[in-house]
């Protein structure tokens, strides 16, 4: 380097490697000022209220207590008792049943309604608005509304059954009815979202593909199965994972309708965490469960965006 700028004049004009390094550092630091201004506020809040709690969750999973008393380090004791906990096992079983049934029901209904809407353009907007409406209702209030449908004594469905001279159904006080009622609530609330989601997807299916199908004489159902579905495949896989993430957080409707009962019949994972933490102060298992949920969600998130292709990971 030094040999290149051998002549004295040139040496005066140019910087020594040391000076150059210092100037380069100053320049980069100056260029960072606006970056910090733009990204700082988000990053500060993100670190404090998301990154720190996530790290803390890892540490807590090795601890017991901490909510009312001081935390006590117990090593991997939480993890060894974690899967032996009967209530947690029930919670995992309930949540899995709920997730599978809810996703299968809501996705089949949503795909059907979306393709109906896509084929019948008249009044499309009205139906979109009507189907979207339940999404406005916070889950806890949807729960209250569902009481008026499914309550044993005053629920509309039972009143109608009674009027028709039929046996009443115990929706909330028996298993597995209670869990299925919760599935019903979540399907009611979520259906509109998934209809709109799939409608947007269906409308993005290239029209020339559809026309080609028509010319080849494929009927509506066949066109749906052979053209729409394969085109929607990445979107569908993405949707399944997103729905998994959302539905594994089942809590609000349990709090509204059943409080985990009858006899643990609707105890979900998040309900279990909440109850262990704030009702029973049994924090150890709850910490371990939270961390397991956290890890699962992060893994599923990475998977979901994997399905959409790798164009969104900042590489481009």
């Amino acid at each position: 380097m030094v040999e290149v700028s051998a002549t004295p004049e040139w040496a005066q004009l140019s910087m020594s490697p040391k000076e150059y390094a210092r100037e380069r550092f100053r320049f980069r630091r100056r260029a960072l000022v606006p970056v910090v201004g733009f990204i700082g506020p988000f990053l500060a809040l993100w670190s404090l209220f998301l990154a720190v709690p996530m790290g803390w969750a890892v540490w807590l999973s090795l601890n017991e207590g901490g909510l009312v008393s001081d935390a006590e380090f117990v090593g991997f004791a939480n993890w060894t008792t974690f899967l032996k906990n009967d209530e947690l096992q029930t919670a995992i079983k309930n949540t899995s049943t709920y997730v599978v049934v809810a996703i299968v029901v809501v996705f089949s209904l949503a795909l059907m309604l979306a393709s109906l809407l896509n084929n019948n353009k008249r009044g499309q907007n009205f139906f979109k608005v009507a189907l979207y409406f339940p999404l406005l209702v916070p889950p806890i209030m949807a729960g209250m509304i569902f009481f008026f449908l499914t309550h044993y004594d005053m629920g509309v469905i039972n009143l109608l059954l009674q009027t028709a001279g039929q046996e009443r159904v115990n929706f909330l006080g028996a298993n597995p009815n209670a869990l299925l009622t919760i599935v019903g609530l979540e399907v009611w609330r979520g259906l509109g979202f998934w209809v709109l989601f799939y409608l947007a997807g269906l409308q993005s299916v290239p029209a020339d593909l559809m026309d080609a199908g028509k010319i080849d004489g494929a009927r509506t159902v066949r066109r749906f199965v052979r053209i729409s579905l394969p085109t929607l495949r990445p979107l569908l896989l993405f949707a399944v994972v997103i729905a998994l993430i959302f539905n594994f957080q089942l809590f609000d409707s349990v709090q509204a309708l059943t409080k985990g009962g009858p006899t643990l019949g609707t105890t979900s994972i998040v309900w279990f965490i909440y109850k262990q933490l704030f009702a029973f102060q049994e924090s150890g298992v709850a910490y371990a469960t939270s961390l397991a949920l956290l890890l699962m969600v992060v893994a599923l998130t990475v998977l979901a965006y994997g399905f959409l292709g790798r164009r969104d990971d900042g590489t481009k």
């Binding site: 990204i39 059907m112 009143l159 989601f197 997807g201 809590f251 956290l294 959409l308």
Partner: protein, 300 residues
């Protein structure tokens, strides 16, 4: 009359009539199904009007009474005088609006930085933020609660349990918002600000004068999305508030359910009163709401 027939001698006009009637049959079945689901979607919420205007004991009468005999207003009176309903509603508005405004500011700024600025570790940082995209409150409930309780001492009670900052700040962090904003800003033609940059405009000037006006639709969509998430939020407010005066609507209404006896008329009235304003807002801005719901998942 001449009958046009194909090679097999079938009457083409009749075939066409048949296919038209088949198509109209198919579309009427479609509309029947759609109408059925419309009733299922809207019906339960409309039914709430009836118990809201009836005394709770009449809800259990047999034979069932479907409509109120008279307009009984006792439930609303009870709600407004015997409970903190008004306070809860104000708290919900403060909570959801603050979260929305703060989230919009920090998400738009960070989205711009991730889309347009160069800085070291950009990809690593974005990857990290992306990995936390869907982290649910439930999974970090205990540490967040402990953190806010700890901050109570450190910030002399400004951020803490039962305070608005303690309720609001943890909910403002949504990597999804940054992600949406970044994607939106990347779709803007770069020529727009290359010109401004050559004219000597700094990043802040480019952001406020050129990018921000173009971001209006994205801001409305993200704003609705965040507001809807937060006004329905139950879990965090349930944990972060302990006094009746600091509760929000979702928590407050769930406390109306009694341990042994529940005044169902009051619950119906509370649900109705809460749903009417949001429904009116929704009917005015339905196009934006629909976009907001799909945008969250689709606008990658």
């Amino acid at each position: 009359m001449t009958v046009i027939s194909d090679q097999d001698g079938r009457d083409l006009a009749a075939l066409k009539r048949q296919s038209v009637s088949l198509r109209s049959l198919k579309s009427s079945v479609s509309y029947l199904v759609l109408t059925l689901f419309t009733i299922i979607s809207v019906g339960p919420a409309i039914y709430i009007v009836s118990p809201a205007f009836r005394e709770s004991k009449s809800l259990f009468s047999y034979p069932p009474q479907w409509l109120p005999n008279e307009l009984y207003l006792g439930n609303f009176e009870f709600l407004l005088t015997e409970t903190n309903y008004v306070r809860w509603a104000i708290n919900t508005l403060i909570f959801a609006t603050s979260v929305t405004l703060i989230a919009l500011v920090i998400d738009t700024l960070a989205g711009y930085a991730f889309a347009r600025m160069q800085f070291p570790l950009k990809r690593t940082l974005f990857g990290l933020v992306l990995a936390t995209l869907m982290v649910p409150t439930a999974a970090v409930l205990a540490p967040t609660y402990l953190l806010v309780r700890l901050l109570d001492d450190w910030t002399f009670g400004i951020v803490g349990i039962d305070t608005f900052p303690g309720l609001i700040l943890p909910m403002t962090v949504s990597p999804l918002g940054v992600f949406m904003m970044r994607q939106f800003i990347e779709t803007l033609p770069p020529g727009l600000y290359e010109a401004a940059r050559i004219d000597g405009a700094g990043e802040w000037r480019i952001f406020t004068r050129i990018v921000l006006p173009l971001l209006k639709p994205a801001i409305v969509v993200l704003g609705i999305f965040v507001f809807m998430m937060q006004w329905a939020n139950l879990l965090w407010p349930l944990v972060a508030t302990t006094r009746d005066e600091t509760r929000v609507l979702t928590v407050g209404i769930s406390t109306l359910q009694g341990q042994f006896v529940t005044n169902w008329g009051v619950i119906a009235a509370a649900t109705l009163m809460t749903l009417i304003p949001i429904t009116i807002v929704f009917l005015f801005f339905q196009k934006w709401f629909v976009q907001a719901s799909v945008a969250g998942a689709l606008k990658q």
